[in-house]
């Protein structure tokens, strides 16, 4: 009994790491830009497809492909911001939402068109036999995915907390007009924020694509889950998104383990309904707290 719980805890932690990546990207974009980013799930799918293309079609090294897929996600995010969001800087939130829903549809259908509807597998250099430590077993690939996710989270936190550009981003998050009086180019911060947030989504997709399979609709559920994570942590709350990511990972793993595997994805949404009913401001108290 205890052993099983420990196994679920490990699985939940491993899953939570990538959920945290997804949530932080989305909440950062909302916090800085007040944009509800419906393309987030598609950026996740994009990262996965890029790894597939680079590894399976171009025969590139797996690790190099992960880095390139993430960078391509950053580039796509920058492009979306410059082409779609920059002209809508002062538009109302409804118009921006509609445009982002449209952009998500275009991205998803482009994937369908380019790659077809059949799911793809990505070969990895990891062996398929699990590592066993005492009562707990975990696949080496999943362990690797978790380690990279944590490294990205730490790197991202250092960027925000310790660098000039990170301080400027946090200042813009808190008070854009006063930040501009300090000489911050708010437009540039928006482009960087969207590109970085998209890069985190693409990194999550690049990491999880090889764990599962890569398909054009993979972004749908993940996009919804990313919103769930962000709502759990409180909109625009970065530590909240990390905590929300792990919370969702645990709820899914324990729910699937003890209650029902079929309803795995439902447990997360059940949790959100509960949080919204009891604590609508999110799990973490300080709203708009960043860094």
């Amino acid at each position: 009994m205890m052993d099983q719980a420990l196994q679920h805890l490990v699985n939940g932690t491993v899953l939570g790491g990538t959920y945290a990546l997804l949530g932080i990207g989305l909440t950062l974009i909302f916090g800085v830009m007040r944009v509800v980013n419906f393309t987030h799930g598609e950026l996740y799918a994009f990262g996965a497809y890029m790894v597939y293309a680079l590894v399976s079609l171009l025969g590139l090294n797996f690790y190099l492909s992960l880095v390139l897929a993430t960078l391509l996600g950053v580039a796509l995010g920058a492009l979306v911001e410059l082409v779609l969001l920059r002209p809508l800087r002062h538009a109302d939130i409804d118009s921006v939402m509609l445009v982002m829903i449209g952009a998500a549809l275009v991205l998803q259908n482009t994937e369908m068109w380019v790659w077809g509807g059949v799911a793809k597998m990505v070969p990895t250099p990891f062996v398929g036999t699990p590592l066993v430590v005492g009562p707990v077993s975990v696949l080496p690939l999943r362990l690797f995915v978790f380690a990279v996710a944590v490294a990205l989270l730490v790197g991202f936190w250092l960027l925000l907390d310790r660098t000039r550009i990170g301080t400027a981003m946090r200042a813009t998050f808190q008070d854009p007009q006063t930040a501009s009086l300090m000489g911050v180019r708010v437009g540039l911060v928006h482009t960087m924020t969207f590109a970085l947030g998209s890069g985190l989504a693409a990194a999550a997709g690049a990491l999880l694509g090889p764990v599962f399979v890569v398909s054009p609709t993979m972004g749908d559920l993940v996009g919804l889950k990313a919103f769930a994570i962000v709502i759990l942590g409180g909109l625009g709350n970065l530590p909240g998104a990390a905590i929300g990511g792990f919370a969702l990972g645990y709820v899914e793993e324990f729910g699937a383990g003890y209650l029902s595997t079929e309803y795995r994805d439902a447990f997360g949404f059940l949790l959100i309904i509960l949080v919204l009913a009891i604590r609508p401001q999110g799990l973490v108290a300080a709203r708009e707290r960043i860094g």
């Binding site: 000039r164 301080t167 200042a171 006063t178 009086l181 000489g183 960043i290």
Partner: protein, 243 residues
Amino acid sequence: MGCCMLRLENVTVRYGRIAALHEVSLEVREGEMVSLIGANGAGKSTTLKAISGLLAPSAGRITWEGRPIGGLAPRGILKAGIAHCPEGRRVFPHLTVRENLEMGALLRRDRAGIASDLDRMIARFPRLGERLRQAAGTLSGGEQQMLAIARALMSRPRLVMFDEPSLGLAPNLVQQVFAIVREIRQEGLTVLMVEQNALAALTLCDRAYLLETGRVVGTGTGAELLASPHVRAAYLGGHAAAA
């Protein structure tokens, strides 16, 4: 007094279809302290926002040392040497005191100069020095105002604009803020200050402009305006005798 540093000529600013400033003309000379006085909604803050680039004038010219600067982004204005300490302090609440001060020096690249200016600010405002690692949002109103002033000075401006620096502060703190503004000005900085406290603003300044509903309706030295019957009646009320 030096030559004309900042000049506004017939500047008009609109919020949508409503004109908030009508053909405002004023000038600030090097080393001078100029006050803008007037009631709420007279256009004082709008004037400062037009100068610092937060608002673009729809007509008129703004020149800085003869160079047109109207329509430049706030970054360009700050680079030119004009700092704007906004109304309501507007410190970044979740950045530390130190980070707020560093934001003031964002455009500077001289690390050593920034470090020595940081030390100077700490020496001048010891309360901030004790709270460098504290989030600015946890400071008292007076401390936040000191931080906002120090942050504006961290850019090493040649002209600093204060928007209602005494707003919402206890009387003893109001005196402290005005003492600091006087010091800053004695150190050679040029100051343009918006103040609702007309008595203090006119006592401190060399010259002042009186704004009413977006227009300049009077100008003169602080003493001249203090003596003006219109100013005494409309803005100084019972306090006029104290001047």
